[in-house]
Symmetry: C3
Amino acid sequence: MQTISLNTHAHEELVDLTAEVQRIVADGHVTEGICHLWCHHTTAGLTINENADPDVKRDILMALRHIVDTSWPYQHAEGNSPAHIKSSLLGCQLAIPIQQGRLKLGTWQGVLFAEFDGPRPGRKVTVTVIPAGG
Amino acid sequence: MQTISLNTHAHEELVDLTAEVQRIVADGHVTEGICHLWCHHTTAGLTINENADPDVKRDILMALRHIVDTSWPYQHAEGNSPAHIKSSLLGCQLAIPIQQGRLKLGTWQGVLFAEFDGPRPGRKVTVTVIPAGG
Amino acid sequence: MQTISLNTHAHEELVDLTAEVQRIVADGHVTEGICHLWCHHTTAGLTINENADPDVKRDILMALRHIVDTSWPYQHAEGNSPAHIKSSLLGCQLAIPIQQGRLKLGTWQGVLFAEFDGPRPGRKVTVTVIPAGG
């Protein structure tokens, strides 16, 4: 079990964690299994999506701003309820298959940390590697 | 593997399961790994979000009512399609890291059962504890 | 670890994978644990929902078309940003509990591959079976 710490630099941002997760998996001793990721925050999340064209990341954040309207009658006094809702829509956890000691990702897939209430220092993701059955 | 049974008391409700899941993990023999949760229903789900201010839970349910409009041309005869869609948006499963025999949650994170078609007796969540690799 | 390959036949489609996943689990040697599924694409996803009435699947796809509006100012040149966003909303991975060597699904639950940018040949889902702790 290892922890990735990151600082975010915008109010909303998708940060690519693929290389860092890949390195943690490569350093471990599990050749086949799953790599579980956990985001420790309720105004951020984790998602898998295209890493190649940065417009995809911009479009995801833009669409989520349309889906979760800031004008609805929110009651939470901190004023960041849209970030909480985006966190639940994307989820704060996921697991990725490991084969031959590496993440088995699709061609275009990257591991993205989704910041919805930044910028913030010290965002944390816990990485746990789990072996498969025989 | 254990099962949590719960009764829901409103049409829509976020029920805090954190203490019950924590107890199941503490009773087990896995000190490091993941705790997997599965909701057995297609009109309910599971999510992680803030447990401290109850307004966050109210805001999540309110926002989901805006996101999934009841006026769209649904065809499913039971009339509960919005609940099915909310279940798929939040998801019916998640896994949480275990460290030193306890759930490793962020400061504000709670484990929430999301009822979207209640009130209902006998909602079920299966809890499976999985050990990490060496 | 095994791979399911499938061809999709419509632009948007929910394809039932339950029987195929069930067979992979039954062929394995894990009697208690979780079965992890991974979709290798960023314009498709995986979800659990009702398999009985096909109207539920139609309603899910219809609602997602309302939730993710095609008229928003997308920048991604391929023109399939709504499919990328639906992939992140539903997620591309999930894990299902295994008990007595079989998927432990709720009465109405089916495992659905969600195509959002089809029709496409050779869509892939990796299945990894993970044993539970003692």
